[in-house]
């Protein structure tokens, strides 16, 4: 395997047309994510971090610049770049098991070929006994476990996670963060993780790229040199707090800017 980056955004800008007005969501963003890296993008709401992720996923195309995956320009969504959405986006008419195996079935893989893997992942994410439930019968945290399991079984090259725990309550969120840590330490997939939660980014990621308020730019990229395997306790360590203070200062500037931006008439 070469050491060329798995994901590369080169000078990417994105402009949206909203009600006849053009809004610049991203401006000259360059990000490089190496294989097996857990990269977090951290920014205030509305900074365009989801837009960035959507372009890597292939849902959106950049207005200027290039988005490359494995050296090739991204043009369409692909199971190699699997997405975990903020809303779990499960198919409500399918059971948990059918949701998890959707991607495998779609690609015509025989059930005998994936049964073992699916069972293992269902166990890893703690969904045993819920296989025949419908999403409507699950709590928010359980739904997101399905959202994670259905992409893990596809063994994608990268996991794109768009604030996957953003709509969960604080307790469920920590449980899910620990779950993701344990899953990641097992699979070591390349992850692009978008969040506005500083602790979450520092707890999970190898690198944290802090974004500016709209138009979104990368303000600073920090390496998170905390030893792995990590657990929730790491968030109380002095080194963690030092990092947190640094990021907090960076992000506060941006949040204030964003708030001012919102109160000012456009």
């Amino acid at each position: 395997m070469s050491d060329r980056p798995v994901i590369e955004l080169a000078d990417v800008s994105k402009t949206f047309d909203k009600a006849g007005r053009s809004v610049e969501a991203l401006q000259g963003v360059s990000v490089v994510i190496a294989r097996n890296e857990f990269a977090a993008i951290l920014g205030p709401s509305g900074c365009g971090k989801s837009t960035l992720l959507n372009m890597v996923a292939g849902f959106d195309a950049p207005t200027r610049g290039a988005v490359r995956f494995d050296g090739e320009p991204v043009t369409t969504p692909s199971p190699r770049r699997a997405v975990v959405f903020q809303e779990p986006a499960l198919f409500p008419w399918y059971t948990v098991l059918d949701n998890i195996t959707f991607g495998l079935k779609t690609r015509g893989i025989a059930p005998t070929a994936y049964r073992g893997r699916v069972e293992a992942i269902i166990e890893q994410v703690g969904l045993q006994g819920f296989e025949s439930h419908y999403p409507a019968e699950l709590s928010g945290g359980m739904k997101q476990r399905v959202g994670i399991a259905r992409v893990l079984v596809m063994e994608p090259d990268v996991l794109l996670m768009d604030e996957p725990f953003g709509s969960l309550d604080a307790q469920t969120r920590s449980v899910m963060q620990e779950l993701l840590l344990s899953v990641w330490e097992r699979h070591q997939q390349t992850v692009l993780f978008v969040t506005h939660d500083i602790e979450e980014a520092l707890l999970l990621a190898d690198s944290v790229s802090v974004m500016t308020a709209r138009p979104g730019r990368i303000k600073k990229r920090l390496a998170v040199e905390l030893p792995r395997p990590r657990a929730l306790e790491v968030t109380t360590s002095p080194f963690f707090n030092e990092l947190k203070r640094e990021v907090l200062a960076l992000i506060r500037e941006e949040s204030v800017k964003a708030a001012v931006e919102r109160t000012r008439p456009l």
């Binding site: 996923a57 199971p79 997405v83 198919f91 399918y94 959707f102 991607g103 999403p135 409507a136 992409v151």
Partner: protein, 276 residues
């Protein structure tokens, strides 16, 4: 199952719950009986409930061979004629309307091609098509099927289209990132997501199918409940007319309930959602 109407605790007493809905029909029946027996209405035009019941009973259970009356023991045959036409026309409408609605809702080009024509033809009442249908298909079943099918087609195609367009973008993205192609997305995501709306269309469609079958049988064919209704009117058998009306109402009710049942079974996930 509790519904919004039953709020006060005493409503849950079973006797009261059963009694409440029959109050209006009973009052109506009493007034009707009184109106006929006390001669509040012109004699001989409106039959009493008792007459209707007796004629209906004879129409259903009476002997067919010994009697010369067409209203003895012929009910089931008439019901079967009408039901078969409704079912055929309805299935035809669903077979055309659902796939067409899927494509119109899914593909902008197809929508631009087909949608204006549908919207232009839709306001033409099904009754207005009668002469055309008879001219083209003659006094045969085909005329009836055309009218029933056309009537049921509109709500089915329109509701299917709406259902498709309401598909959650996030679910489409989820399917795409899991490698689903257009065909898979259409059958496993869009169709499934549109199903509640499709069932709404089907229920509206079967209602219109019963309207259309009566109209068609009155004029375009010589059998079924619509034919009996018109014929009975001509020979002054208002008791049979009323019995026919009630029969059609009953059949419409039963077919709607049947569709509701199917929809509940197919959309099991949705009832779970409602209770979550």
């Amino acid at each position: 199952m509790a519904d919004a109407a039953s709020t006060s605790p005493e409503d849950h007493a079973p006797i009261r719950r059963l009694l409440w809905p029959v109050i209006l029909p009973l009052t109506f029946l009493t007034l009707w009986t009184l109106a006929v027996e006390r001669h509040w209405v012109v004699e001989g035009i409106i039959p009493s409930p008792r007459q209707v019941a007796q004629s209906w009973y004879r129409w259903i259970f009476g002997a067919t061979t010994l009697s010369l009356s067409p209203y003895s023991g012929t009910w089931l045959a008439a019901v079967l004629y009408s039901s078969r036409r409704v079912l055929q026309g309805f299935l035809l409408a669903a077979a055309v309307g659902i796939p067409l609605g899927l494509f119109v809702g899914w593909n902008r080009l197809v929508a631009r091609l087909v949608d204006p024509s549908i919207q232009l033809l839709r306001p033409v009442p099904i009754t207005a098509w009668l002469p055309f249908a008879i001219a083209v298909f003659g006094i045969y079943d085909a005329s009836a099927l055309f009218l029933i099918g056309l009537g049921a087609f509109y709500p089915i195609v329109v509701n299917t289209t709406h259902g498709v367009r309401d598909t959650n973008l996030l679910l489409l993205r989820a399917a795409r990132m899991m490698g689903a192609g257009e065909g898979t997305i259409l059958t496993k995501v869009v169709f499934r997501s549109a199903l509640p709306s499709i069932f709404t269309g089907l229920r509206l469609g079967i209602g219109i199918a019963w309207t259309a079958v009566i109209v068609a049988e009155m004029i375009a064919v010589k059998s079924g409940l619509g034919y009996v209704l018109w014929d009975a009117y001509y020979v002054g058998r208002m008791d049979i007319c009323v019995a026919t009306m009630l029969s059609v109402g009953l059949l419409g009710f039963v077919s709607d309930r049947a569709l509701q049942l199917v929809s509940r079974l197919v959309l099991k996930w949705r009832t779970l959602e409602a209770h979550a």
